[in-house]
């Protein structure tokens, strides 16, 4: 008897018609202000490393 009831509940729980499911097909706007930038990560690594090294050179060369 109990098993039968459980079966009924299960059937009721999963009975979702297509209309009831909202269509959530939207996609996040990729990248925000970066847009669809396709810059390779290696180039970004280069920019980061180059920038830091340049700033360190300026810093250390500022005092004679």
């Amino acid at each position: 008897m109990e098993k039968e009831m459980e079966k009924n509940i299960e059937v009721e729980d999963i009975e979702i018609t297509e209309k009831e499911v909202p269509e959530l097909t939207f996609k996040k706007a990729e990248g925000g202000l970066y847009g669809d930038a396709k810059i390779p990560v290696k180039i970004l690594d280069g920019i980061i490393a180059g920038g830091i090294i340049f700033m360190l050179i300026i810093l250390f060369s500022s005092v004679a």
């Binding site: 959530l24 706007a29 202000l33 970066y34 970004l44 920019i47 980061i48 830091i52 810093l59 500022s62």
Partner: protein
Amino acid sequence: MAGRMKTRMQEIKAMDAKDKRRFWKETLLNNSLYIFIVIAIIYIQIQAPGFLAPASIINIISLSAAAMPLALGVAGTIVLTGTDLSAGRCVGLTACVSASLLQMSDYANKMFPNLPEIPIIVVLLAVVAIGAIAGLVNGFSVAKFGLHPFIVTLATQLILYGIVLIYLMNGNNNGQAISGLDERYTSFIKGTLFTIGGTAVPMYVLYGILLTALMWVIWNKTAFGKNMFAVGSNPEAANVSGVNVNRTITGVFVLAGIMYGLSGFIEAARIGSNSASTGFNYELDGIAACVIGGVSFVGGIGKISGIVLGVLILKLIFTGLNFLSVSVNMIYIIKGIIILVACAIDMRKYLVRK
């Protein structure tokens, strides 16, 4: 915290050599700007021992407090995947308006000689209103017409600059810098809050703290703040969830404008002499502080604590470079590189996640 660190260390130990190398490379690159700043602070302190003296630290905190409202305003627009290039000029306009309305009554070169004494609160509300109108124009154009904030705020920047130049030609001023500010005004902004070791902490530090607290509440404890992050993260999802996207975008820009108005009000009294160049490039400092503080251009990411840290770090590094007598021209280059590197780190994190 200690337990989490221990688990992390165990995870690192369990990695093979290749993964370990990759982990340290990622950590080093993602934190490279902070590492540079720590090295710079240590180096500057060694070269100029007065750098971290109490008086210097109070000066850095004061400079940060003055820059805070602008950075907090810009941050909201960045969270929306935008930016605000008109921030500096808006500060300039509101600073000039504040200064012109609060000059000493007996000052020889008073801009409006027949102007009666105006209560400070009236001027404060006036500049807040000016900032809000500028923000409303920006926000409305972005939200309603779907224009990119970069273009809209670039146009507003030029318009505001033109308005400043025209405004400075009014009365007896003839384009000159506005000075001779009323004692009530200067003491309201620059008056001593308290002294530490003989160095006065100005009143505007308190205002900076109050505005930061206010923004924290708006960002974290209000529906508007939650909506802002939702719109910044995914406008379409926010829209289907019942968030009024247009109103949120406009609100964020208006709030930013109010912050610029307050920033201009503080700045006018702080610097004492206001001209068309007041506020020039302030937006770049604000944007740099936000990006350093972890407000992502990808949108929907940012914390008030990060912005505060970003502003403090920027002021710390530029005050330090002044201590080392690095030329102003070089400081501009460093400022640009800091923004570039911070953006590269931000973009790198985004691409790796993707």
